[in-house]
Amino acid sequence: MPTTFIGTGSADAGTLALALGAAPSATSPEPPAAATWDWDWRGLLTGWRSEVAALPAADQVVVCTWPDPAPRVELLELGPVRWRREVEWPTALWFTTLAVATGRCRDGGAIVVVVDRPAPLDAPGHGAAVTVGDGVVNLVRSLAATEGGRGVRVNAVLSARPVAPRDLAGSPTPLTTSPGRVDVEIAGAVRMLLSDDGAGLTGTVLPATGGHP
């Protein structure tokens, strides 16, 4: 079944698309290198919205929000420009993307959104990823409520790619494979939620993180 794959240009997003047998349908724009605190992204978002809206309708839509890894930094030390780039821009980007991409999923279809969300114990230093991730996850819940009436399921898969194994806090992760391989553990979780095996699931969040709390 053809899958529309919308994602960042990160290498891992490409790996995930390949593992799902989907050619990337649209690659999200990046903020300009010189983006400042008062950078106006409306033009960029408008163009992106049009690109996503022009995608053909599909029964399966995957949206992969993985950014390239950013240096670990506590929120107090995250300066305004990085805040704008790493929190506000992805918030606007993925809200816009999902608002439009949902309409590209046919009635009865399935949407899976893949999100980096370090576990609560690992949150220090990853405030931007946690903030964006939790926002997107809750947007998935809102969309599940909106789209259920036409039989469209909307779910999320959580990954924890930004957390290096040496930075894991708390008890050892149950599965030593954590944070998991993109083409195996994470692609597997996405496939399940896209498939009929996930027919009763919507608005759910599936952490494919090896059981790390």
Binding site: V87, E88, P124, T131, V132, V137, N138, L139, S142, A145
Partner: protein, 253 residues
Amino acid sequence: MSATGRCVLVTGASGGVGRGIALACGASGWDVWIAARREVEGAAVADEVTAAGGRGRAIVCDVGDEESVRALLDAIAGAAGRLDGLVHNATSGRSSQSGPITDVTVADLEDHVRVATRGLYLVARAAFPLLAAARGSVVVTTSEAALEGKRLLAAYAMVKAQQRAMVSVLAREWGPAGVRVNAVAPLAGSPAMARAFVSDPTMEARVMRRIPLGRLGDATDDIGVAVRFLLGDDARFVTGQTLMIDGGSAAVS
């Protein structure tokens, strides 16, 4: 400085839940700084705080503006010299506008982010030195929408979830400095709630049907006192939590 020596700042306190929080703190004799964009309404709440037994001070602030936030914290540092508690209650004026996600404009979304998420980022960062010196407490007013999403309030639900995320992060990052960070998810009768009921005519029945206690909360006597608890020493071992103050409405906690 009031007799109790406790000084707190409440953003978005010119009405509704923020006013209720300010009044509850005032009733304990605390110094309460009212930060709001609406000057007249903020000053009126400051007077009410003073009448309730505390000492109210009003200051105009746009929490999404870095300079405005810096001026706010400079004023508190200069006048009070300390800050024991911060309540980030300010929320976008568009919070109660309900509608399909496809109707949400970029300007709508930016306003939500600017007040709820950026506002928390700016105010918390600016307040941290004073809060750390006092081993103080931060409380963020989020919503049950942060936990379960909302069909017709997608942008609001998204930024409220982001606030909870920031609370969980800041609680861990600031705990070693003795600063506690929590959230509340109130369900209260307020002008914003009244506007939401008008915006979505089916909303009132849906909301009321799921509240076991059968009523909306009172901004002062239900919500304000719970926030005061989180700000005070009785909650000294509580951090990183979201307290649902909703009469039992939320199906998640």
